[in-house]
Structures are given as C-alpha cells and as structure tokens.
C-alpha cells in the first residue's frame, strides 16, 4: 500500500485555481522529485499537504497511511509524521532554536505515547543531529531563524527534520538560494535520512539538487497537473531542454 496517495487533488488560493487534478502515489522508502516551471503549483502542493489554511482544497482526496490526510489539522499531520521543510523558514524572536526543537520533539513523542525526553537525552540527541548538518551548538541557543543566512535557515530545516524523524518529508525548494557548499551539507543531511520506512518529496525548480540526492521518480508539474513522470533521466532532460516543450505538449494534450 502506498504511504501517500493523491487522487485528483484540486486546490485554489484566493479564488484562483492552482492545482487542477494532481495524481501521485508515494511508497515508503521512495524519493520523488517534483519539478516544474514557476507558478506550476509545486509549492501549493507542498503547502496543501502540510495543511496550510490559506489554500482551499476544491476537489480530490489525499490518503496518508490509508487515512484521510485532509481531515487532519496541521499539527495532527505533523504528529503523524508529515514534515514540511519550508521554502522560507520564519523567524521567531526570543524563542531559542533548542526550545522549539524540544517542544516539537516532545509534542510528537506525546502523540506516539512516549514520555518526553529529559534534558540530558534531548541534548545528546540534538548534538548528534547537529553534526549531521554541520551546525555548531551556538546555533541552538539563537532565536529561531533570526539573523540566520539563507543557508543556515535551510540547514536548520534539515536539523528539525532529523530530530522529528518524519515518515513523509516534503522539502519545498530546499536548494534555492544555496551556494555549493551549503547545498552539499543539506544534501548530505537528506541522504542520511533516507530509509526504507521513510518517503521524501523534493520540490525543486532546478535539477542540481538531484545530482546529490538521487530520486527514484521525477514528476513534472505544469498548469496544476502532473504531466509527465519518469525516472531520474527526466530531470536531466529538463535541465537540457527547459520546461517549454513539456508545457507545449501538456497544453496540446
């Protein structure tokens, strides 16, 4: 059974139709890349899956572990193992990074019927995971994302993902705005998280992230629909030819 099953998903924002019937099946252990031109609905899809309220679902269904994902509140989805790495992580002044991490980890643990981690175990875990994304401990004490560079923000997202160990991770343009070193660090973090129990959806405009994180499947989203699905070679073809031809084909079809 698929971990995530999206059927005919339609969504609009402020009355404007963005997703026009998306179909996608994701199994545990798989990494899917969703590519597409600007405005094709990639980020909308990511936000809808995470439960953002400014997007209205107007049709279709999403099953996650066999359950109706769209019926769950955003925090319930998170606790059930759906993680979104944000394209633009927000700043929260005065709240230390480590505090948010601890609150998040313990909220998820509580949902799973586990006791909250005590300070010592938590610190041990957070140190171990910080090494994964090459973040110094000093970062943990700083306010969430405040004064972080673009690369630091994205590494912080991966750190949160590593701490929460989701079953379904959606990475929304995690590669955008990264220099080559930061991209490598982020990709290493993502690769370390690959596991037979976990599925990942990489939303990206460019294929360069896919040089580091090799996907099992590549999909092209255009005008609110998945218009082509193939293996990794599709990403390379898009790199070579751009998106124009595929949009033309989609419009013709």
């Amino acid at each position: 059974m698929a971990l995530l099953s999206i059927r005919g998903l339609q969504a609009s924002v402020a009355g404007k139709q963005i997703l026009r019937g998306v179909d996608l099946e994701v199994r545990a252990g798989e990494v899917h890349a969703i590519m597409g031109p600007n405005g094709s609905g990639k980020s909308t899809l990511a936000q809808v899956l995470a439960g953002r309220e400014s997007f209205e679902v107007t049709g279709g269904e999403v099953l996650y572990q066999g359950r109706d994902l769209l019926a769950l509140a955003p925090e319930e989805r998170a606790r059930e193992g759906v993680f979104l790495a944000f394209q633009y992580p927000v700043e929260i002044p005065g709240v230390s990074n480590v505090y948010l991490l601890k609150a998040a980890v313990n909220a998820v643990r509580k949902h799973r019927g586990l006791a909250p981690l005590d300070a010592i175990d938590f610190l041990k875990l957070v140190r171990e995971k910080s090494r994964l994304v090459e973040m110094s401990e000093e970062f943990l004490q700083r306010s969430v994302n405040q004064g972080f560079s673009g690369g630091e923000k994205k590494r912080n997202e991966i750190l949160q993902m590593a701490m929460l160990e989701p079953r379904l991770a959606i990475l929304d343009e995690t590669d955008s705005g990264l220099d080559i070193d930061a991209l490598r660090v982020v990709a290493n973090g993502v690769n370390a998280m690959r596991s037979p129990e976990r599925a990942m959806i990489l939303v990206t405009h460019y294929q360069r992230l896919l040089d580091y994180v090799v996907p099992d499947h590549v999909h092209v989203l255009a005008q609110g629909r998945i218009v082509r699905s193939a293996g990794r070679e599709l990403a390379l073809e898009l790199e070579r030819r751009g998106y124009g031809w595929i949009e033309t084909e989609a419009a013709a079809g």
Partner: protein, 482 residues
C-alpha cells in the same frame, strides 16, 4: 475566519478568573468628595492632626488642577462626585489584629485568589499585607520581621504608630502637588503598605501586598511607602484583582520608594485588575504614580511590572538617580487585549555622577488593544558619566490592535551615553503555521512566541511569581490572531 484563528479565539477568550464578589457588609461613606469626606476618612483612621492637614492641603490644590489629557488613552470624563472614597468590611476596628479576628469570609476570599493568609499555608518566605477596598485586613509575619527591626504593616497603622517616619518620608518622592491623580490620592488615600528596612538589614523574605477591590462604585486610593536605609535591601511584590462589573472603577495609587546609601529595593508588580469585557464595558482605570528615589550613593532601585489587567493602565514607574553610582532599572511587560489601553513606561532622571539606568519594555497588543510605551531619559548637567540603555519591543497579534512608542531623551551633559533600540513585530499566520507544522498546538505556539518575547522581563521576577506571570499571560491573551 479560518479554523486556526477560531481555535485561538476560543482559547484566548478565557474568562477573567478573579471576577467574583465577596459578600460582606461594607461600611462606606456616601459617594462624593469634599473636605468633610476627607475629615471622615482621617477620623475613621484615627490619624494625627498633621495627616489631616496634609490631606486637606492636597485636596485644595487638587481642586485647582486640571485632569491631564496628553496620554494616548481615551475614556469618558470621570465624575469624581459619584465615587465612594471609603469602603471597609464592617465589624472590625481599625488596624489588623491577629488573623483569628479577621472575618472568615475575607480569609476565604484571599484563599480563593491563591493568597492564603495563614502563615503556615503561605508560600514559604513571603509576607503578605492584604488590602481589601479601603483597608488592610491582615498582615502576616509581622513579628518575625520585627525581630530584625523591619516594619511591615498597613499604611494606616504606620501613620498612627510611626508618625515620625511617615512624616519624614511621605511625599518626599512624589509630592502632593506632583500631578492630578497624585494630588487626589494624597487627599483621600485610604490604605496600602508601609515597609521600613533599617540600616544594614537584608530583608529575609519577600514582602508583598495583595490589593483587592470588592465594593461597587468605590475608588481604591492606596498609598505605599518603602524605605531602605543604608546598606539595606528588600524585594517587594504587589498583586491586584477586582470583580467583574459593568462600570469602571478608579484605582489611583501612589507608591514611593526611598533608597539610602548602598541600599537596594526591588519592586515587582503583577497587575491583573478586571480588564472589562470584550466590548470594553467595565474594568479598572489604573492611574498610578510610582517613583523611587536613589537618594544615596551606590543605591539601586529596580521596577519590574507585568501588566495584564485593567481597562486602562496609565503609569510610569520612575527612578530619580540622585546618589553617585546609583542604578535604576525598569522591566515591563504590558499586554492589552480586546478594548484595553495602556500608556506606560518610565522616567529615569540622572542627577548623580556615573548613574546608570536600564529600560526593557515589552508591549503586547491583541484584539483592539492599544499599547503605548512612553519613556523619558533625562541627564542633568551634573550627571557626569551617566549611561542609559533602552530597549523597547512591541508584539502585535492580529491587525486590529496598535503599538505606539514615544521615547523622550534630554541630555544636558556631554559625557552621557544613551542608547535606544526599538522593534515591532507581529505574530503572523506564518509563524503559527510553522510551529504547528512542527507538531505544536495553536495555543502552545502562541504561548511560546509570547513567552519568548517576554523572557528578558520574566527573568527579573522573583521565582515564585515568574511562573504565575507566564500563566497569567496565557489566560489574558483574549482577542484574536488574523
């Protein structure tokens, strides 16, 4: 309205938790104010002649004063003739005797408010003076404190039993003519606390006063005076609540602090007067003058306030830094929700050499709340090497509230260093969504964001009360995000 916002609204709109009324017979003077009323108040308190004279002079001066209008707060004209200026639970003499003589109904009231007055039941290490409308009904741990020469009693008692101290210090920091409300208070003040810490004594426990307004149409005009002699130190905390009523009630207090050489006074307030309902009906007008004088060298006065209640809060706990090397501090969290208004801040007057002051102000506005920081840093010509640091942050929840900042700086000594930082931020849907995507509930997310914002101030509160303050903030966040 989206469901997150709806959820927040429900959670945020928790009712005021201290709004009950205590059913006791009250002995009140009829509404209205004239010299006879003042004579009556003074007579009921068996005051010495000098006190009555002092009141009458203040009253005559008050008659010539105009109500100030320069603040950002708006309210209908107050009819001073419709206020009851003295109201006390019937059936007790003057001055609190032992706890056994206190009306059990009153003891139950404080119990309900979480301020038990039985010494064995109390928070360890906190002495309480309980003020109910116009009188102090009980003061705990007096004997224990007296062993070290500390005087902690109701103000009325101090006037009778320590007239020389009262005469020496009363009005020395806030003169009766200081401002409209201070003059009114000087004329009609009823009760409050008096603390005297003698030379070289560190007060072994927190002193606190719990103010409760109960009677209808009554104004509370409390007067508090704290004196720390050379090398003495004390930490004092006040708490305030009132029943829910549709009318507004005036609370016009005066608090004076005097610190001599090397003395330290730390004054903390958790103000939770009834804020009025969602439409702005009822609630307390909290118009208060609080000022400390660092009279001696190396003295230190620190104000910490958490202001979550009152329909209107209008006050500026201030420090006059007269002694060389003296230090003044002001840490404030002011929250306005629904139709609440706050115009609050501080004045730091640098007169002595190498005087230092720190101001940290955190304003939180939700609903239709209006929150104003107004602060003055004045460096006088003789204040060589004076330093001030001011940080003033505003947090907005939703888009119907407002934050305003009025920092006034007057520097008349070129060696002074004055720094000011200010920020305004908003709890947005994106911040909430971010936290919720990490598994936090909407409530926990708001609470985390707001507490993070206030952290620098909460760490200044005595431990027992920091926890209370955090809870209070959670409960007081009525209004909405959207």
């Amino acid at each position: 309205m989206s469901s997150t916002v709806k959820q927040l609204d429900d959670w945020i709109s928790q009712p005021y938790q201290h709004g009950f009324v205590t059913d006791v017979e009250q002995d009140s003077v009829p509404p209205g104010l004239d010299e006879d009323v003042i004579r009556t108040i003074s007579a009921r308190k068996h005051e010495p002649e000098f006190m009555l004279e002092w009141r009458l002079q203040a009253y005559r001066h008050w008659l010539e004063m105009k109500e100030p209008r320069w603040s950002q707060v708006h309210y209908p004209a107050i009819d001073y003739q419709s206020i009851i200026y003295y109201s006390a639970p019937r059936g007790r003499g003057d001055g609190p005797k032992s706890l056994d003589e206190v009306d059990p109904e009153l003891l139950r009231t404080y119990e309900k408010l979480g301020v038990p007055l039985h010494e064995r039941a109390m928070l360890a290490g906190v002495a309480v003076d309980a003020v109910f409308d116009s009188v102090s009904v009980a003061t705990t741990f007096r004997e224990k404190l007296a062993e070290q020469g500390i005087i902690f009693c109701s103000f009325s008692e101090a006037v009778r039993e320590h007239p020389e101290l009262v005469r020496k210090y009363l009005g020395s920091v806030v003169p009766p003519r200081d401002n409209f409300y201070a003059a009114l208070n000087s004329a009609v003040f009823t009760d409050g606390s008096f603390c005297f810490i003698p030379k070289g004594v560190r007060c072994p426990m927190e002193l606190s006063t719990y103010f409760r307004i109960n009677a209808r149409n009554t104004g509370q005009f409390e007067r508090t005076l704290i004196i720390a002699e050379e090398g003495a130190s004390v930490s004092y905390l006040e708490g305030c609540t009132a029943p829910m009523r549709d009318e507004n009630q005036l609370h016009a207090a005066v608090v004076e602090l005097v610190a001599l050489d090397n003395a330290t006074i730390k004054y903390s307030t958790v103000q939770n007067w009834y804020p009025g309902d969602k439409e702005g009906r009822g609630g307390i007008y909290n118009f208060v003058t609080k000022r400390g004088m660092c009279r001696g060298a190396n003295s230190r006065i620190s104000w910490t306030q958490v202001e979550t209640g009152s329909a209107i809060t209008w006050k500026y706990p201030s420090v006059i830094l007269r002694g060389d090397n003296s230090v003044g501090e002001f840490y404030s969290v002011a929250l306005t929700n629904n139709r609440q208004q706050a115009d609050t801040g501080t004045k730091m007057i640098h007169a002595g050499r190498n005087t230092r002051s720190t101001i940290v102000s955190k304003g939180i506005s939700a609903g239709h709340g209006q929150n104003t920081y107004r602060g003055l840093v004045r460096v006088l010509p003789g204040a060589e090497g004076a330093r001030n640091y001011t940080q003033c942050d505003s947090l907005l929840l939703g888009d119907r509230c407002g934050a305003h900042t009025f920092p006034y700086v007057e520097v008349r000594n070129p060696s002074a260093r004055v720094e000011h930082e200010a920020t305004t931020s908003r709890i947005g849907e994106d911040q909430l969504f971010y936290c919720m995507q990490r598994g936090l509930s909407a409530e926990d997310a708001v609470s985390m964001i707001v507490n993070g914002f206030c952290k620098e101030v909460f760490k200044e509160l005595p431990m027992e009360f920091a926890v209370e303050a955090q809870k209070l903030l959670g409960v007081s966040l009525e209004g909405s995000v959207g």
